[in-house]
């Protein structure tokens, strides 16, 4: 039987679906009997969801326009100098 510490170490592998059938079975067996680990896996899953897929949230800062212009003019300068 896995210890709680071993379950915690494998938490990401479990929720990312990277465990072998046997390892997955051992985890489920432990989780069925251990409220602490069940809660912990829930916390890691929530954390994963909150840290994923923020790509849709592109940033729109007011200063962007100025920064973009600065990059383009620096590029232009460097090209002129043959850099």
């Amino acid at each position: 039987m896995l210890s709680c510490q071993e379950v915690a170490t494998r938490a990401s592998a479990l929720i990312d679906g990277e465990l072998s059938t046997w390892e997955g079975l051992q985890m489920r067996l432990h989780l069925a009997m251990c409220k602490g680990c069940e809660r912990f896996i829930g916390q890691v899953r929530t954390t994963r969801d909150l840290t994923e897929n923020l790509t849709a949230a592109d940033t729109h800062e007011e200063a962007d326009d100025g920064r973009i212009s600065e990059i383009l003019s620096k590029l232009h300068e460097e090209k002129k100098q043959g850099g």
Partner: protein, 199 residues
């Protein structure tokens, strides 16, 4: 060719043609992540912004040579990492991403037999919009990511937030896939601990 791939090819052509709107699109998508990854390496926001700017100039200068062997995002981040690393080196620091010597900060939660000393809390519903201690959950998440060591921080931004493929992330950071999984797991545990402290 997949739609995403075809769209990217078009985007690269527009960038090469000097279309400002195409550049704006790519800039808005990646600039804040570029800075956040760079801060972890150069340790200063101002320097990270400079490195990001140098990266964009290099991207536009060399876009004609981009052959699409990796994704555009992956190519841009590789340029950033190289620039940030050489900046750190100039300051006398070597930055590695393999996370040697870091642990998952969880060992203290267990007794000698690997059992929880205190049973983890059952978190109430956490949504990105939820306010905790006067700030949105996402603000806390981003602050927690910024406190992570460079390897964990880079992996969670590139892999999770920017959605780059596992192979691409490993190539950019020069780490193995097993190493990347460990770093991602530790990064999540770091963010989890920060959120748990607020609940």
């Amino acid at each position: 060719m997949s739609t995403a791939r075809a769209e990217e090819t078009t985007l690269v052509q527009l960038l090469a043609a000097g279309e400002r709107t195409a550049f704006e699109q790519v800039y808005r998508k990646h600039n804040s992540s570029l800075i956040r990854v760079a801060v972890g390496i150069v340790r200063s926001r101002a320097t990270a912004e400079e490195v990001a700017q140098e990266t964009w100039i290099a991207v536009l200068k060399n876009i004609c040579g981009f052959e699409g062997r990796s994704s555009l995002a992956s190519w841009i981040f590789s340029i950033l990492i190289n620039k940030a690393r050489s900046r750190a080196k100039r300051d006398g620091r070597m930055v590695s991403f393999d996370g040697t010597g870091e642990d998952d900060n969880l060992a203290a939660a267990f007794d000698g037999r690997g059992r929880w000393k205190d049973i983890p809390e059952l978190w109430e519903v956490l949504t990105p919009e939820r306010i905790l201690e006067g700030r949105s959950v996402m603000d806390h998440v981003n602050t927690a990511i910024e406190a992570l060591p460079p390897g964990q921080r880079s992996v969670i931004i590139l892999r999770a937030q920017q959605g780059l493929g596992a192979e691409e992330v490993c190539a950019i950071l020069g780490i193995s896939e097993g190493n990347m999984r460990v770093l991602l797991h530790r990064a999540r545990l770091g963010v989890r601990a920060a959120l748990d402290g607020l609940m």
